[in-house]
């Protein structure tokens, strides 16, 4: 399987009469996109807005972030199971509108979280302060129940992202617009992969997906991850949106769809592939709530690693508490099977940094990278413009979300900031002991 990513660098978003890209500027036909999304009658209202890095804008509560992509070549479309049919993806050519993201927002459930500040101290803690953002404010209709409301908003984000990319497809195919970069990723059949680079260590990636239930779910080819047995997936399939996020909790360490499309661990393993290691495969597994599922999935995932005959694995987690047990099980089962591991996680060490960071541990977990303490407090200054649904006073008052000061500034844990302590190691944040 070979995949080419044709990336067009987007530096500015504008509303205009037709949707298309020229010289890095993406113009969006607001009415057309709003009407397109409103075709789903479960949505009572849709409004669009834009936000650029550096502006005094706060977006809240953000449910998901999606990078606009569509296929340039034949075969199944991106986001299989939602936009595309359920046939395999991960091959051929894919168009990527790079440097921008679609952010969905709208009030689903009371706990308000998922802040993106485009400037100020909060901007440092979210990758989405560096992208031009098309914000889709969604209002599910009243009688739609929570389950349906969640899936309506999730699918609306994917539709908007796919719409934007596919409106640029003709221009690229007709060479009216050239991709700024083209990058090729090869994922050969296992027989070939195993013999390539005989003197380099064979490495796999165990990719844990949040799967605990409503608002804590992930979908693979449209299948709810809590229903899968661990399985192999090609790294190129993840680039075509095979994995999408239905997880809204916690904002800091949930993997948005954007991060699944641009998995940093896969990026790093590819970067060293053929030079320092032989990247032979990705194993996806879940983080179910029952202990029977945890034992089954961790043993199954490690068995797949043994079947691949890998020497070492990176294991990344999603979430805190319940998933710590899966992370630890995956770790010690792999190490006892002779497979060396490095764990990527985040910490909940309390606001004073002195509580126990993880809710589980094992002596085999001697190699750990963490994306920082999610309980660290930060003061966010007031922003001139807020897009989405500003938190209700009673929610703020209860200190459940953070504390609002008279001058309009907010004191919150970075846990409420989108992607702040992403456990795939997407950002440079980390922690150390003083």
């Amino acid at each position: 399987m070979k995949l080419e990513l044709h990336r067009i660098r987007i530096s500015k978003l504008e509303f205009g009469s037709s949707t298309g890209v020229r010289n890095g500027v993406l113009t969006v036909n607001k009415d057309e996109l709003e009407k397109f999304l409103l075709e789903d009658e479960r949505l009572a209202g849709v409004s669009l807005d834009v936000a650029h890095p550096g502006e005094s804008v706060r977006i809240l509560p953000v449910k998901d972030a999606v990078e606009p992509r569509c296929k340039l070549s034949e075969g199944n479309e991106v986001f299989p199971g939602f936009i595309g049919d359920v046939d395999p993806v991960g091959e051929g050519k894919t168009l990527v509108l790079e440097g921008m993201a679609v952010l969905t927002t709208g009030r689903l459930v009371a706990p308000q979280e998922g802040i993106v500040d485009m400037s100020g101290p909060g901007a440092e803690y979210t990758p989405f302060s560096q992208t031009c953002n098309l914000v889709v404010v969604l209002e599910p209709s009243e009688e739609v129940k929570l389950h349906e409301a969640e899936s309506v908003c999730r699918i609306a984000g994917l539709k908007a992202a796919h719409y934007l990319a596919s409106r640029c497809k003709e221009a690229v195919l007709s060479q009216a617009v050239a991709a700024d970069t083209v990058e090729t990723f090869d994922a050969p059949a296992l027989t070939e992969a195993m013999h390539a680079y005989p003197n380099l260590p064979k490495v796999a990636y165990i990719y844990m997906l949040q799967s605990q239930g409503l608002l804590h779910d992930t979908y693979v080819y449209g299948v709810d991850a809590k229903k899968i047995l661990p399985t192999l997936i090609s790294p190129t399939e993840t680039m075509d949106g095979a994995i999408i996020s239905g997880n809204c909790v916690s904002a800091c360490d949930k993997n948005s769809t954007y991060v699944h499309q641009n998995n940093p661990v896969i990026k790093q393993l590819y970067a060293r592939h053929g030079k320092e290691l032989n990247f032979v495969g990705v194993i996806i597994t879940n983080e179910n709530v029952t202990l029977a599922d945890k034992k089954r999935s961790s043993s199954y995932a490690v068995k797949l690693a043994r079947m691949l005959g890998v020497e070492a694995c990176v294991i990344s987690e999603e979430g805190f508490g319940n998933p710590d047990a899966d992370l630890v099980m995956n770790c010690w089962k792999a190490e006892r099977a002779g497979i060396k591991t490095v764990l990527v996680t985040d910490e909940y060490a309390g606001r004073d940094g002195s509580s126990q960071s993880l809710a589980d541990s094992c002596p085999e977990g001697n190699a750990c990278v963490t994306a920082g303490n999610a309980n660290m407090m930060i003061t966010l200054p007031p922003m001139e413009k807020v897009i989405g649904d500003a938190p209700k006073a009673d929610i703020i008052a209860g200190g459940f979300f953070g504390s609002l000061r008279e001058d309009g500034s907010m004191e919150v844990e970075i846990q409420a900031i989108l992607g702040a302590t992403n456990e795939l190691g997407f950002t440079r944040l980390g922690a150390y002991t003083i």
């Binding site: 260590p201 990026k267 990278v369 003083i434």
Partner: protein, 346 residues
């Protein structure tokens, strides 16, 4: 313009007297007193000690609110930019008082504080989470190294610098966020390659690991052996006199068994927060078998039940604390010529 520093010392280092003067009431004097002189020199004019607070160790222990309030007022009155306290070396009450006033001032006056003491001073575990404690020797002979280290750390804090390991403070066990040069994923793959090649690497989050000890040889003559009882099940005299915490214990207790043949509900209890306390509070022998060992002592099966028992609470106790409790208790039992120990846990 030099920073303004207030210095807290006890009656001994102020030259007023030793234990006999431990009730010396708190007083504030302009300028430097005792070790303050060496500290002032070490601050090389970048900061000056504008006032010294002198307080007897007993007085500080008995009147903590009053002392803290007085220290707070002194810092405000002299517009202090930082509080220096000690060095206290291995003096327990002095170290605890230094920690108390330092963390109070940091919280209530909003200025940094630096103190210094020996790593086994009880003040360390109570206050290391709140403030920087320079590690010193266990006696005043260590003054020569303690003073420059305190001054260096104080100047770093005054200039808003983030202290590093070189400043020689005792690890506080507090996790602090930072932006590394590379993203977490890159750091992970780099670490994995080192682990594969067997090269050294530093984990970013150390998981607790327990070391192994050599088994001791068997007791040869049980009939004349002194056996001691130690427990992590939290059995303490009624009222928990040493206030051993129900979880994440910071200390252990040492209690006498003389005249006690049986633990009873009115005199003994459990302080342990990790299990249903009903049964241990009804009869603490269910955790610490004093009644049976007294019988065995009377019947001559064992030589003697050691007159002291040791107890802490093993519930989320940090590995570092547990190791320190074990070393200290072990040393005391060795000094008391105890041949063997029965360790009970819940």
């Amino acid at each position: 313009m030099a920073y303004r520093v207030v210095h807290y010392i006890n009656q001994f280092f102020a030259g007023i007297g030793g234990e006999d003067k431990a009730d010396h009431e708190l007083e504030v004097r302009e300028g430097v007193v005792g070790p303050g002189l060496a500290l002032a020199n070490a601050l090389k004019g970048e900061a000056e000690i504008v006032a010294t607070i002198i307080c007897g160790d007993n007085f500080a222990a008995m009147h903590s609110e009053q002392v803290c309030a007085a220290v707070e007022n002194a810092c405000k009155q002299y517009q202090a930019d930082l509080l220096l306290a000690g060095p206290a070396f291995n003096a327990g009450r002095y170290g605890t008082a230094c920690g108390m006033v330092s963390s109070f001032v940091q919280k209530n006056v909003g200025i940094p504080a630096v103190t210094a003491m020996y790593k086994e001073n009880p003040g360390v575990d109570i206050y290391k989470k709140d403030l920087y404690i320079v590690e010193t020797g266990d006696s005043a002979r260590g003054m020569g190294t303690a003073v420059p280290a305190m001054a260096k750390l104080a100047l770093a804090l005054l200039k808003g610098e983030q202290p590093s390991k070189e400043h020689g403070y005792i690890e506080r066990g507090v996790r602090v966020n930072t932006f590394y040069d590379t993203c977490g994923a890159e750091r992970a793959v780099t670490m994995l390659l080192k682990k594969i090649k067997g090269e050294p690497f530093t984990t970013e989050y150390p998981m607790p690991v327990f070391d192994r000890v050599e088994p001791r040889p068997a007791v040869k003559d049980m009939k004349s052996a002194t056996i001691a009882l130690v427990t992590s099940g939290g059995i303490v005299p009624k009222g928990n006199p040493d206030h051993i915490a129900a979880s994440s214990a910071q200390n252990y207790g040492e209690y006498s068994l003389s005249g006690i043949n049986d633990l009873t509900a009115d005199k003994h209890q459990t302080a342990h927060g990790g299990y249903d306390q009903t049964y241990a509070n009804q009869d603490a022998d269910r955790v610490l078998p004093v009644d049976v060992l007294r019988d065995l002592e009377k019947e001559g099966v064992i030589g003697k039940l050691h007159e002291m028992w040791y107890a802490t609470v093993g519930n989320g106790t940090s590995v570092a604390n547990a190791r320190r409790f074990g070393q200290e208790i072990g040393q005391k039992l060795k000094d008391a010529q105890v041949q063997a120990v029965i360790l009970t846990s819940t």
